[in-house]
Amino acid sequence: MRRSLAVLILLALPATAAAQSSQLSARGLGQPGRWLSPRSTATGGAFGMFDPGSSLNPAALDQTRTLTASFMGLQDYRNVENPSGTASLRDNRFPLVSVAGPTRRGSLVLGLSYSNYADRDFSFATVDTLDPRGTPVTVFDTLSSRGGISDFRIGGSYRLSRSVVGGSFHILTGSNRLESKRSFEEGTYLPLTEKAEVSYGGIGVSLGLVRDMGSRLSVAVVARTDGHLDVDKDSTRVGEIDLPATLGLAARVQFSSRLTLAGSGVYRTWSASNSDLLATGAVGSDNTLDLSFGGEFLSDIRRPTRRPIRFGGHYATLPFLLEVGQQPTEIGVSAGTGMSFAQDRGGIDMALEYLWREAGEFKERVFQLSFGVSVRP
């Protein structure tokens, strides 16, 4: 009863699933999520395909030893730079909520998660001068979007000797609430606000594998396809957008009893969306590659969850273009730690990440703090 209550409390927490916002998320579907827990974020994402707290690889659910609910919060501070100026921004999100646990037979682990698929939060302000009546008039425009696409995953893993296979079903849903405001410096013109809501729906499936290649080496593979996304604008179907297939590979090596290193690569065929996005007036999209490398150093071998030191870095290309031929990129370095308490019934993980994003003259420097809480009732 107490277990069920704790799980229900966690699921009831605000699950505004979204990752970090970015000016580079203005076009297309926004900023794609990386589906990582704070623990994996601290390793640059390299441990993501082995991490049961992340929603990247269903086979990783096998690492869940007892019913576990986890919740992630994220706060970022950004310096944004583009040809129109600079700004210091901040926002907070709750990008991942998950619950997983083994069945009675032990080989089968089931899990639910609610994570960010793509985030499209932005607000751009511009100043311009118009001449509608032969007299220059200064206008102030603000275009903003709130919302994104969330990924609700139902998955499971099954252990087969030295291998674990997993599969999951994904429901993609969400919306963007778009708003355009214009006000005039001269009060004789009325200010104007226009709104639209674009909602999305789709489904996807993913398969994963984790195999131990000896006592020190493990590899993971994940493949996912998301079909297409139905797009409704103000309750009217306006089209479909093909979603990418995802292929990920990762390797983890335990160099010593204290040090484990991992590397991973995830490739997504976002170019599948290109023609559909061009038809809507967007600039288009391109395939992405996310490469990461990181490690975990245990400060206490007998209690591996007590303040381990995690570190890592990643390089990624981002799918949605601001200008033709100029694909945005992201480079990040990260570090973090965690601890458990109450006889491992509770745990916290933290990750600090510094990101450089760039697409030509559009640049961002992001300091990001991820904070995760897990409960094992």
């Binding site: 939060d121 511009t126 509608p132 355009s180 004789t188 009325l190 226009e194 306006v238």
Partner: protein, 401 residues
């Protein structure tokens, strides 16, 4: 934790850069100019009679118009009831007051001359019939308006032999009628109070009641009377020229302008500003320094002169008219045009009037579709037609997704 707590307030707005950061594109602002439907801009007169307005006009040699005013006071009773008995009284003195509402403050030496006129004066009075009574032998007194006074009340008190000028014989009907003219250092005009606005002339008689053995407060009484009728007359009444659109004047003219809002605006435009531009035929005549208001009202149904107009303040617009100016008069009619767009029953029409109606020297004549050579090539006196300038924005093309 501190960083999380301190960062709870989001700050998401950053500088925009188009076209890269403008999904969907720009807000398109468009300006269109409409003229009234050809020949469907009309002037109607007679909404407010002279004297039914909130002021009376008096002038002397004023180029705009020559006016005289008249008041007919309520009857003064020939007795006063004291202790259930009607008592006669003796008039000790009489006070007459006039209220100055507007004058040309640059003209000094203003004097209002009060005359006693026939107590039968009524709405049929004409300038010749009234002016003929304003002779020196009928002068009651002259009220000097101080040069420092722009608005206010002037008063004269009559005593002794002067009381004969306002004597009301017992055998008569007890009605005093006053005619008003004016003189000043230069030709000018003045607007004075009227019964409609409760600031017309007053006629107060201070009397001693024929009764003994009582207090002074009962014996000494004041009988204050106000007009039951007032009017003013114009030497040369001007009728609206059908070639133009007229508002104001002693004929209380109004103009009805009908437009046809394009379907493209009705369907999907977001109107941010609409102004009605009116081109005066000549410099707008009026009393310098006096304020006249051009008012526009949405029309609820197009029934010509009797079209009902909106009483909703959201659809009533106004602006001050500058006297002696020939500049284009601009009236902000944004809310009214938005009503045309939103309502399927409201006609695309606007009714113009000049306030206070029948109570101002200001009378504006504007060009019409019949005087605009672009619309009526045969126009004999070319003056541009009204123009409705609408600035609107097309719907923002939100990018899907």
């Amino acid at each position: 934790m501190a960083a999380l707590a301190g960062g709870c307030q989001e700050q998401l707005t950053s500088p925009g850069q188009c076209p890269q950061l403008c999904p969907g594109g720009d807000v398109k602002t468009v300006n269109v100019v409409l003229t009234p439907l050809l020949g469907r801009d009309s002037t109607y007169t007679g909404y407010v009679n002279r004297g039914d307005g909130v002021a009376l006009l008096v002038s002397n040699g004023f180029a705009v118009s020559e006016n005289r005013a008249a008041y007919r006071m309520s009857p003064r009773a020939d007795s006063i009831e004291v202790r259930d008995t009607n008592r006669t009284y003796t008039v000790d003195s009489v006070a007459l007051t006039l209220t100055v509402l507007a004058r040309d403050t640059l003209v000094n030496g203003l004097k209002l001359v009060l005359y006693r006129i026939s107590d039968t004066v009524n709405a049929t009075a004409t300038f010749p019939s009234l002016d003929a009574q304003l002779t020196p032998e009928h002068v009651i007194d002259t009220l000097v308006v101080p040069d420092t006074m722009n608005t206010g009340t002037v008063r004269v008190v009559l005593r002794g032999a002067d009381l004969a000028k306002v004597d009301l014989p017992l055998a008569g009907n007890g009605i005093l009628a006053l005619g008003v003219s004016m003189v000043a250092d230069q030709p000018t005009g003045v607007r004075i109070g009227a019964a409609r606005a409760n600031n017309g002339a007053t006629f107060t008689s201070y009397v001693t009641v024929d009764v003994t053995d009582t207090t002074t407060a009962i014996r000494k009484q004041a009988l204050a009377l106000t007009p039951t009728f007032n009017t003013y007359v114009t030497q040369t009444p001007l009728l609206p020229d059908p070639r133009f659109l007229t508002v104001g004047g002693d004929s209380s003219s109004r103009s009805l302008l009908r437009f046809a809002l394009p379907a493209s605006i009705v369907d999907s435009a977001n109107i941010v500003r609409a102004t009605l531009d009116l081109v005066p035929r000549t410099a707008i005549p009026g009393l310098p320094g006096d304020i006249a208001i051009l008012e526009g009202r949405a029309v609820l149904a197009d029934l010509g002169a009797k079209s009902p107009v909106s009483t909703d303040v959201r659809f009533i617009v106004d602006d001050t008219v500058q006297v002696n100016s020939s500049d284009t008069v601009r009236l902000d009619v944004t809310r009214i045009v938005q009503l045309w767009q939103a309502s399927t029953t409201s006609p695309d029409a606007i009714f113009l009037s000049l306030l206070p109606e029948a109570s101002t020297f200001t009378r504006a004549e504007f060009g019409s579709t019949r005087s605009d050579p672009a619309l009526t090539p045969s126009a004999t006196e070319p003056v541009g037609a009204p123009q409705l300038r609408i600035t609107y924005q097309r719907p923002f093309p939100f990018e899907n997704p």
